[in-house]
């Protein structure tokens, strides 16, 4: 896109994609309470869903315009701020990469809005829920449409905020409020890395006279900073890893994945939209967006791929032993995000984004099906207490089953194509390694196992629920099942846009994104080399494909044997390997380890700082207060004694004088008369004496 700068066309409609959900959020956020009290839930859901659907329609129109434009669409709204030479605009950019993202976000988002109408029915915070959901769409679209990394960061923080608000949606429950806080704080840790990366980019580019953080400008000038160093490390690797720390927080990678399972405290549609389909993939999107940097920093790419592979495998093993239906799906999400990281980490950005898209379909479908089940079970989330739901909830079962086939990687379903593309690139891609493939393939087998365990336990066999729950079992209303079936259809067919050439397809998804990731020119070499390698051995490709399918089928067969054919076996295995089971069931005690180390350290540090505060800072403040008091006392004493004393002395003297003088006024008139005569006499004598002398 950046090499063909001439092809960027102004397209003013782009801002409508953002503004529709924003308007919905503002309307429901400010007036929703009143509307809900006055007119009930209907107007609220209509406004919110219309905003999401309208955004989807505008997105469709924009993407069609993009296809005919054959370049990129831009919408420069206004200049956000200027600092020195740096000027950051609020500008939107629609290229093939962001068009995939906006279609997923608004499409899946709209379906989940529809689903929420039924799911959140009767909740007192109905208006609040929809306002947050619309605000989330706005933030997520800002994230994917922003044409510079700062605008991406605004969206990045916005989705984090919405995630926090929606995880803690039922905030009267302390545990749920705490889960929201955990998500937020863990993300903050990652964001620190992100900010460091952005600052490093800004600093280095400004040093080379490039005063822009727009992706296109950075991509054009990335070679300028290639040889630089930051803190002794190669600049590009440093920035790449710093940004990946942010991505690890947002996309729940080791070691910052711990918030995502807890995030299941939020309403289930939120888990589907934010914590499975869209927000958590922001990290993958960001790396794909910064591909020009990562391609030149193989060390950073290797970190991404290795962390992704470790996460994919690690989270999958935890998923085996979870009994909460949403927790299973949460760990599955963590694991699948690991796959996407493997994809982008081996330089196969298109494959990562492809899996991001198909995952959005089937994981949203899985979560919404789980929500439908939980609703029907009256809030029960333990799969050990389910069973046999297939007959009671045929539509939910159908969609869940199709999505499970997709995530397990059964050929023909969407997950197969995307996962296969990632695995193939992990082996043979430009930065691939057979070990990455092995981790991914093993993870795929485990994924197939625990997903089918979930389906078998919940939908097959005997129903283990209480009689009362059984009595209330029912299929969900159509407002819930319609989005389910739509997503199930997408889970099946969503991958068909990317059928690889090896299977007679055209890799159309890949070609659609090719303009973004391999535009020739400066860094086209690595990709081209990679593609050569990919085309080199089609027989190997078939072999790996078959191997991964076999591993997945093996996982399914194992699940079938353990949970359908021989339901007594799991218990016996658990009793045989009690310690291992305990460790896995407790998620490898990672939360406990964090509590004992990081959290404890922070608490100790904060207590130490508090002591410092109490004694040193407060001490200084108290000392200065004490000094001022002493000075005031002295000055007050001086005032009272000397200044007031002088004034009082004057008045006292006057009073004393007056008291003496008043004695003269006896009131006896005759004494006055005598005094007068005496005075006259005195004057006469004086006069006579004086004149006599003269």
């Amino acid at each position: 896109m950046h090499e063909t700068a001439g092809a960027i066309r102004e397209f003013g409609l782009l801002k409508a994609i953002l503004l529709l959900p924003l308007a919905g959020a503002i309307w429901n956020g400010f007036f929703g309470k009143w509307v809900q009290r006055r007119f009930g839930e209907k107007p609220i859901s209509i406004v919110a869903t219309a905003a999401a659907a309208g955004s989807f329609l505008v997105s469709l129109v924009s993407v069609l315009a993009l296809r005919s434009a054959d370049g990129a669409l831009a919408d420069r709204i206004y200049t956000w701020f200027s600092a020195g030479d740096l000027s950051v605009p609020v500008a939107l950019l629609l290229d093939p990469l962001s068009s995939v993202m906006i279609l997923v976000v608004t499409g899946v988002g709209s379906l989940i809005h529809v689903y929420s109408i039924g799911y959140m029915h009767g909740d007192g915070g109905y208006y609040r829920y929809f306002a947050f959901l619309n605000l989330f769409l706005f933030s997520m679209l800002t994230l994917v449409l922003g044409d510079n990394i700062l605008l991406l960061f605004v969206g990045w923080e916005g989705v984090g905020l919405c995630s926090y608000l929606l995880i803690g949606f039922w905030f009267t429950d302390r545990e749920k409020a705490a889960a929201g806080m955990k998500a937020f704080l863990t993300n903050r840790i990652g964001d620190l890395g992100f900010i460091v990366g952005v600052f490093a980019l800004w600093w280095l580019f400004a040093g080379k006279g490039v005063h822009s953080l727009a992706f296109a400008d950075m991509a054009r000038s990335i070679r300028l900073i290639e040889g630089e160093t930051v803190l002794g490390a190669p600049a590009l690797a440093f920035i790449g890893i710093a940004l990946f720390v942010g991505a690890a927080g947002k996309s729940a990678q080791i070691p910052l994945y711990v918030w995502l399972p807890d995030a299941m405290a939020g309403p289930t549609p939120v888990s589907a939209l934010i914590h499975a389909a869209t927000m958590v993939t922001a990290g993958v999107y960001m790396i794909a967006r910064m591909h020009f940097l990562y391609t030149l920093a193989p060390a950073a790419l290797a970190v991404v791929a290795i962390v992704g592979a470790a996460t994919a495998l690690f989270a999958a093993t935890i998923g085996i032993a979870q009994t909460d239906i949403k927790k299973v799906l949460a760990y599955s999400t963590v694991s699948q995000l690991g796959y996407m990281m493997i994809g982008v980490g081996v330089g196969a950005y298109a494959a990562g984004i492809f899996h991001l898209m198909t995952h959005a379909f089937f994981k949203a479908c899985l979560f919404l099906s789980a929500g439908s089940v939980i609703h029907a079970m009256g809030g029960e989330q333990d799969i050990r207490k389910m069973g046999g739901l297939r007959k009671k909830m045929p539509l939910t079962f159908l969609s869940m089953f199709l999505a499970t086939l997709a995530i397990a990687g059964i050929p023909g379903f969407s997950g197969f194509f995307s996962k296969d593309e990632i695995l193939w690139n992990a082996w043979a891609g430009p930065h691939g390694h057979p070990l990455l493939w092995a981790a991914g393939a093993l993870g795929a087998g485990i994924t197939a196992f625990y997903m089918f365990r979930l389906v078998f336990l919940a939908f097959f066999g005997e129903c283990r629920a209480s009689e009362e729950t059984k009595h209330h079992l029912h299929e969900s209303p159509r407002v819930v099942t319609t989005p389910l079936l739509a997503l199930a259809a997408l889970s099946v067919a969503g991958g068909w846009v990317g059928i690889p050439e090896a299977l007679g397809g055209k890799s159309r998804f890949h070609h659609f994104l090719a303009g973004v990731f391999s535009p020739g020119g400066a860094h086209g070499e690595a990709i081209a080399h990679g593609e050569q390698a990919v085309h080199a051995s089609r027989s190997l490709e078939y072999l790996l494909m078959a191997a991964s399918v076999l591993i997945a089928l093996g996982g399914i067969a194992l699940a079938h044997r353990l949970y359908l054919a021989r339901p007594d076996l799991p218990g016996r295995i658990v009793s045989r390997a009690r310690l291992l089971h305990r460790i896995v069931e407790n998620k490898y005690y990672v939360d406990e380890i964090y509590r004992a180390t990081v959290i404890r350290f922070v608490l100790v540090l904060s207590r130490a700082l508090r002591v410092f505060d109490d004694f040193v800072v407060d001490g200084v403040v108290n000392l200065s207060g004490w000094v001022v008091r002493i000075v005031a006392l002295v000055s007050g004493w001086f005032d009272n004694t000397f200044v007031d004393g002088l004034v009082n002395a004057v008045s006292n003297g006057t009073i004393a004088l007056g008291a003496r003088a008043r004695r003269l006024q006896t009131g006896a008139v005759q004494s006055y008369v005598i005094a007068v005569f005496a005075g006259i006499l005195l004057l006469v004598l004086l006069y006579m004496g004086l004149s006599g002398r003269a």
Partner: protein, 106 residues
């Protein structure tokens, strides 16, 4: 016998009597009488000097006599006012004894 000194002597006696009356009597009306004596002593002095003193033209000036008439008028007015005051004082404190009227004491 018809000499200025005689008149001055009588006037001095009158003035002395007036003064003693004012200073010693406790009755306000008696004091009023003392005042009349003082005034008349002064009037007598004026008349005497008017009779025995000549001016540059060798005639007796009338100033002294006129002054005496003024003093008579003044004394009458003063007597009237003071009597009214004394009556008012009596009405208020049922006494005209100046020893007991100490309202001016500071």
């Amino acid at each position: 016998m018809n000499r200025l000194e005689t008149y001055l002597f009588i006037s001095s006696v009158l003035a002395a009597l007036g003064f003693v009356t004012i200073a010693s009597r406790r009755n306000a009306v008696a004091i009023l009488m003392g005042i009349e004596l003082l005034l008349n002593a002064a009037a007598l002095n004026f008349v005497a000097f008017g009779r025995f003193v000549k001016n540059a033209a060798g005639t007796h000036p009338l100033d002294g006599q006129i002054f005496a008439i003024f003093i008579l008028v003044l004394a009458a007015a003063e007597a009237a006012i003071l009597l009214a005051v004394i009556i008012a004082i009596y009405r208020q404190s049922e006494s005209i004894d100046v020893e007991r009227l100490r309202g001016l004491k500071g």
